[in-house]
Amino acid sequence: MKRPLPHARFWATLAAVLVGLLLWEGLARVLASPALPPASAVARFAVTMFQEGGLLEDLATSLGRVLVGYTLAAALGLGLGGLVALGGTVGAGALGAVQLLRPIPPIAWVPLAILWCGLGDKSAWFIVFIGAFFPIFTQVAWALAGTPAPYLELAQSLGASRWLVLTRIRFPAAAPGILAGLRTGLGLAWTSVVAAELVGAQSGLGYRIQMHRLVLETEGIFVGMACIGALGFGMDLLARRAERWITRGAA
């Protein structure tokens, strides 16, 4: 089912963005400080960065790291979350124990990641994994354990086997929760890769904006941040589309 963005909202958003850019431009020109370049200068700088290359490489590096860390987190989150949900009291205990690690933000794991994996890809994978794993694992476990009781009673009255209950009732009933977990995980994976690259890597978008700070190219920081924002937005949009497509039809 396709639902176009209401036109009024679209134009209002566009207008707000333009006003924001104009305010930024005006403020930057008044202040005339190297710490806040005007929007037009950032746009010109972006063109140069694209022409010189390097930006796209960093972008690809960051995306690749997200892909590796996120895939691992999704696979383990789904597997372990499923085990915990169906594992009775032992599972509930394991879920409770893992919950104690959840409040530790991914960035707080960076020192350990560097200590264990050194600077570079492995460290970034680890941080991305940490960022994405906990929401996926928790959501999967909750969703699978939270099958509505009436459906289970129906299955019992029909004499359905455990396998049938798992594959035809528990899993589809949990699908929206699982997909929401996967989407939350993807957002956090992207946040985490930037955090990891700011200190724990020598390539990628996070590393690039850090470098621009060191050489005082403030425009470069803005371009890098804009790329990070645009990619995060795009990924979330794709994830939402996929989610809607998968759950289409089911009420």
Partner: protein, 243 residues
């Protein structure tokens, strides 16, 4: 037949919902268990269904035989799985009961046709009205060709006019079957329209206040609703409920 003998059920023994409860439902008859809300009639049904286990006493019902399930249940809510089509929901029940896949279509299509749901076979439950969904739930229960059909206030959630339609559909579906039916309801008219025998239960622990035979042939049409027999029986049921 269904037989409950000396059944006790309750989470705390001193406040048992059922204690020494007896009930016989003769084979092939429709028995309505009628009582006020919260009187424990749904508990009786769940005990017969095997969804609850009695603390004491016996619950006997016929076992499954080849091609026929021991029992099936229609709940107050249609309880269709929203991620399957109407037809898929019936097929799922047949699969759960171990009916060979080759028989699924042959069992499902004629029943859907009889309740006027052929066109909705491929629809998702979310697209159905309340009445249509409950018809689909009836089809799912009867496709199993159960020895015992348990109906737990199946039409309580639909509006009164639709309820009469559904009662007619149920009577039509049951015509010619040897299925033993236990209908739990708090609707006097429904019990008298559908059942051969009405068992009135009251109190806690639940006791049988009266058992009345409805001497009219089934299926009963709209004219039966206004017949002298039914009006007389209604008075009898009201008196038993007040006792």
């Amino acid at each position: 037949m269904i037989r409950l003998h000396g059944v006790r059920f309750g989470f705390r023994p001193e406040a048992a919902l059922l204690d020494g409860f007896d009930l016989d439902v003769p084979a092939g008859t429709v028995t309505a268990l009628l009582g006020p809300s919260g009187s424990g009639k749904s508990t009786v049904l769940r005990l017969v269904a095997g969804l609850l286990t009695p603390a004491a006493g016996r619950v006997d019902r016929p076992p499954a035989t080849p091609g026929r399930a021991a029992m099936s249940v229609v709940f107050q809510d249609p309880r269709l799985l929203p991620w399957m089509t109407v037809e898929g929901n019936v097929h799922f029940a047949l699969e759960a009961a171990g009916v060979p896949r080759a028989e699924w279509a042959g069992r499902t299509a004629p029943l859907l046709d009889r309740v006027g749901l052929s066109a909705a076979a491929k629809a998702r439950p979310g697209a159905l009205s309340g009445g249509m969904a409950q018809r689909a739930a009836l089809v799912r229960a009867l496709a199993l060709r159960p020895h015992v059909l348990l109906l737990d206030e199946p039409f309580a959630a639909v509006d009164p006019l639709l309820r009469e339609d559904l009662q007619a559909a149920l009577q039509d579906l049951l015509a010619g079957l040897d299925t033993t039916v236990l209908l739990v309801t708090h609707d006097i008219a429904e019990a008298l329209m559908v059942a051969d025998r009405v068992v009135v239960v009251v109190g806690r622990p639940v006791r049988v206040a009266a058992a009345l035979d409805v001497g009219l042939p089934r299926p009963r049409g709209a004219e039966a609703r206004l017949s002298g027999e039914l009006l007389g029986l209604t008075r009898g049921v009201r008196a038993a409920l007040g006792s």
